[in-house]
């Protein structure tokens, strides 16, 4: 299963990057969202999947899933949410102010 999940993570990365390389602000944001999804899946898969029960200590259970990647991902989810929302508002402001959401037009002049 890990192999398949790695491939899925790869697909998420590929689509994220394709979106990142686009000109429209919206697509770039979508790209970052997909990128963080891909990264989370990636971290989770790098450990091993389904090696035991959920990591909640219960008497009598010996095998648990690795809690460390989960802690990392949990932090990451929250941070990427912050980043996404900031990007959204930022791009909203930028496109309102400059009346364009095309990155090629938002490049800034030669001698600023």
């Amino acid at each position: 299963m890990e192999i398949l999940m790695s491939i899925l993570a790869g697909i998420l990365f590929a689509t994220a990057i394709y979106n990142l390389l686009q000109k429209q602000l919206l697509r770039i944001i979508i790209g970052t969202v997909l990128l963080s999804h891909g990264a989370h899946l990636f971290i989770l898969t790098m450990g091993q999947l389904k090696t035991g029960k959920p990591p909640i200590i219960v008497e009598g259970v010996e095998q648990y899933t690795d809690p460390l990647p989960q802690a990392l991902i949990l932090t990451s989810i929250v941070i990427s949410f912050g980043v996404t929302s900031l990007l959204l508002v930022l791009s909203y402001r930028a496109s309102k102010l400059n009346e364009s959401d095309n990155m090629e037009e938002l490049r800034g002049s030669e001698h600023e």
């Binding site: 689509t15 686009q22 979508i30």
Partner: protein
């Protein structure tokens, strides 16, 4: 001692406060006592029974870096120069700089320099010394560029910075090599290991690095070009940094390392030759200068060359003469700089072609200048200190006899002649400086304002220095045993006792002096006839080389930068990703890092495959969708899919968080999408499209391969067992993920919250900003 060194730095912090009253009282008055107190503190060490003192303050013990202050004779000489001349310069600057100037900045830079220069001469730890060394370059840069509205100031500041920092880096390389070879960072311990260092195969390289640092700082040929341009600085700065103290840092360095390097033939060959070339070249160049300070700048270069050469000789007499001349040069050159400043201040020009006959207008300055220039010229008069050290120098050149035959033997024979020729030109420019300014016809029409004598306050400092010239000249032995002998011993490494007297009898050095004065007088009187000879070398010369190098570096780096700094986000992302891909991929290939091990995988179940498939399709769909709503839905599908995967993979906390975040995100997207333009297919070049796809696929593929390899390679047992075991005993919680987040890695979580807080503030600000639209 540490208080004395750090006092100027502390003062810099107070300067902004006290400069508030600068309209009433010149800021300089408040600061005047500081260098004077430092001077008083250090002068009590001087005496016949002086012994080196040291103080150690640990700083970075793990790197063997500590603030070691080591006060021996050499440091004492420099410390007294720095604080003594510093006091006089501050006093002089009070009259030189008008209250309307930016006094705050000026004194901050000046005291920063004082602090760093004290650090340079007292530090025993090479890395601390290096840090102070660069600080002096930095403050020199700021002071040269003090009148930053002038093109020339900026040019001169940059030039001095580039050249001295180049030397500084080379010095750092030398220090690192010294540390690696000797295993210590203390100069005194290095000197104890002289044999180990000198016999090391890298010794020549190390030597070159050290010497480059010293030569650039002390403006030795051909790095001397920065010093004349540094004359754009206000005159107190020229008198202080660029004649008395900072430019002697290179000399200090060579003197400091003389016990280590001094016995090597390469030391004699390189240091003496460069010193003598500098002496000759700069004194020759000085004669054709038209700017008063230009003459003094080349003169300083030439005198520095002379001191450098004496250190290179390395004999007892030469070293004594060198330290003596360090002191003497500071006194007479300091006073001459101040007089040049006075002339500039009172006549409005420093161009010697416009000056002349000022003696009647400025009798005091002229009198002071007489002593200064004749001392500089080394005229054989018993009340001028310059003569003593000059004669010691000439004596030292004659006495050289360590080497026989070969290049060094020849060099030894040639040295007295070069010394005499160089000194002749020294005599010529000294006379030119004085007679061109104060005697000859008065050119009233050339001057913008009517010259008159300087205010008394301005004359105090040069008077004190000239008194120093005369007193040392009359009673040279007063500074000899209690002071100079210790300095010379610190450089030489053994006892030095010189007896200074004016009349040695009719010996070779005296005859050499007479020749210098004789030919010098003839050349000075007939100077104009020789103008063609003085202009035989191109005016620019090494400056052209410097300009060419700087220009080509600037243009070259601009061109290179412009090729990739396009301003297009797409390009940046593409460059970064391509670089990551190429580097990662090639390293994985080279280190044979790809591994495929399918033995320990989890079972494949239908629900996971279905969810994964849906996610993949949704992700791909985001590329092709052209509607905003479609994009939200597809991105949402991926997110919710991920949370289902989390559930399947036994990660309940993740699933919950992901669900909440996804929901809020979708809501946010919906809110913002309403205001954002509709998605559309922007026309793009087919080539661009295929590059994008290529980069995306390559990167995705790479991540897949890394994921599989990481899964297949288990080099260490995971550290998670620790968390699982300690969660209940240490954290008191049964949910291990929670315990990790709030207990074991609690600070990380705190910072995570901080990041969220900052993001929230930023978002709030951006939304609020809407109300004053138009104001960017």
């Amino acid at each position: 001692m540490i208080y004395a060194v750090f006092a100027p730095l502390v003062v810099t912090l107070l300067i902004p406060l006290i400069s508030k009253w600068k309209e009433k009282i010149h800021t300089g008055w408040f600061l005047l006592p500081i260098p004077f107190l430092i001077f008083l503190y250090f002068i009590q060490f001087a005496g016949e029974n002086f012994t080196p003192k040291s103080e150690v303050y640990p700083w970075i013990p793990s790197l063997d870096i500590s603030i070691d202050f080591y006060l021996d004779g050499l440091s004492l000489l420099f410390v007294l120069l720095i604080s003594g001349i510093g006091t006089l310069v501050v006093l002089y600057s009070i009259y030189y700089l008008h209250k309307s100037e930016q006094l705050k900045q000026f004194y901050i830079y000046l005291f920063l320099f004082m602090f760093s220069m004290l650090g340079v001469v007292l530090s025993d730890n090479v890395f601390v010394l290096y840090t102070f060394w660069e600080f002096t370059s930095l403050s020199s840069f700021l002071l040269i560029g003090f009148w930053h509205h002038r093109e020339g100031s900026r040019y001169g500041a940059l030039k001095s910075m580039l050249i001295t920092v180049f030397g500084g880096l080379s010095l750092l390389a030398g220090f690192i090599m010294l540390t690696v070879i000797s295993g210590t960072t203390s100069i005194q311990s290095m000197i104890e290991q002289t044999d180990v260092i000198v016999d090391h195969p890298y010794f020549p390289l190390l030597f070159v690095f050290l010497v480059l640092g010293a030569f650039t700082k002390s403006a030795q040929f051909p790095f001397h070009i920065w010093l004349p341009d540094a004359m754009e600085a206000p005159t107190p700065v020229s008198a202080y940094l660029h004649s008395a103290t900072m430019v002697k840092a290179g000399i200090f360095l060579i003197a400091r390392f003389s016990p280590l390097l001094g016995q090597e033939p390469i030391f004699f060959a390189v240091i003496s030759v460069v010193g003598l070339i500098t002496l000759f070249w700069a004194s020759f160049m000085a004669v054709r200068q038209t700017d008063l300070k230009g003459i003094l700048a080349f003169s300083t270069v030439s005198q520095l060359g002379m001191i450098m050469a004496m250190l290179g000789f390395g004999t007892e007499a030469a070293i004594f003469a060198a330290v003596f001349h360090i002191l003497n040069h500071a006194t007479f050159k300091g006073s001459l700089f101040m007089i040049a400043g006075i002339v500039d201040h009172e006549t409005g020009t420093r161009d010697i072609r416009k000056l002349g006959g000022l003696m009647t207008f400025m009798p005091m300055s002229a009198t002071l200048a007489v002593f200064g220039v004749f001392s500089m010229a080394g005229a054989p008069l018993p009340f001028l200190n310059g003569f003593y050290s000059k004669e010691e120098f000439l004596g030292a050149t004659v006495e050289l006899n360590q080497y026989t035959g070969g290049f060094l033997g020849f060099l030894q024979e040639a040295i007295p002649y070069i010394a005499v020729i160089g000194s002749i030109f020294t005599f010529v420019y000294s006379m030119y400086f004085f007679f061109g300014t104060f005697r000859g016809p008065f050119k009233e029409k050339e001057l913008d304002k009517k010259p008159h004598e300087a205010p008394v306050g301005m004359l105090i400092s040069p008077t004190i220095l000239v008194l120093g010239v005369i007193l040392i000249g009359l009673f040279p032995n007063a500074v000899n045993e209690p002071f100079l002998a210790h300095s010379a011993e610190a450089v030489f490494g053994g006892d030095i006792h010189a007896h200074l007297k004016f009349w040695h009898g009719f010996e070779t050095p005296f005859i050499m002096s007479l020749i210098i004065v004789g030919i010098g007088t003839i050349l000075a009187v007939t100077r104009k006839k020789w103008a063609g000879v003085y202009n035989i070398f191109p005016r620019k010369g090494f400056n052209e080389v410097y300009n060419f190098v700087v220009d080509s570096i600037e243009n070259g780096s601009k061109k290179i930068t412009e090729t990739y700094m396009t301003g297009s986000l797409r390009h940046y992302v593409a460059f970064i990703l391509t670089a990551i891909f190429l580097i990662c991929f090639s390293i994985m290939i080279i280190s044979n890092g790809f591994a495929f091990d399918f033995s320990q995988t989890a079972d494949i179940t239908i629900p996971e495959i279905l969810v994964g498939l849906v996610m993949a399709i949704a992700a791909i769909a985001t590329i092709f969708t052209t509607s905003r709503l479609g994009a939200i839905i597809t991105v949402g599908v991926v997110g919710y899919g991920l949370s289902i995967l989390f559930v399947l993979y036994r990660a309940p906390d993740l699933a919950l968080t992901q669900l909440i975040v996804e929901t809020v995100s979708v809501a946010l997207f919906l809110l913002c999408f309403k205001h954002l333009p509709e998605l559309r297919k922007l026309p793009s070049h087919p080539g661009v499209k295929s590059t994008n796809s290529l980069i995306a696929i390559c990167f995705g593929g790479l991540m897949t391969l890394i994921g599989i390899s990481a899964h297949s390679t288990k080099l260490f047992s995971p550290i998670s067992d620790y968390f699982l075991e300690q969660s209940v005993p240490l954290g008191g919680g049964h949910n291990v993920v929670n315990v990790i987040l709030v207990d074991m890695r609690g600070l990380d979580t705190l910072f995570e919250i901080t990041v969220l807080g900052i993001a929230a503030l930023a978002i709030y600000g951006l939304i609020k900003l809407r109300h004053n639209k138009g104001a960017k």
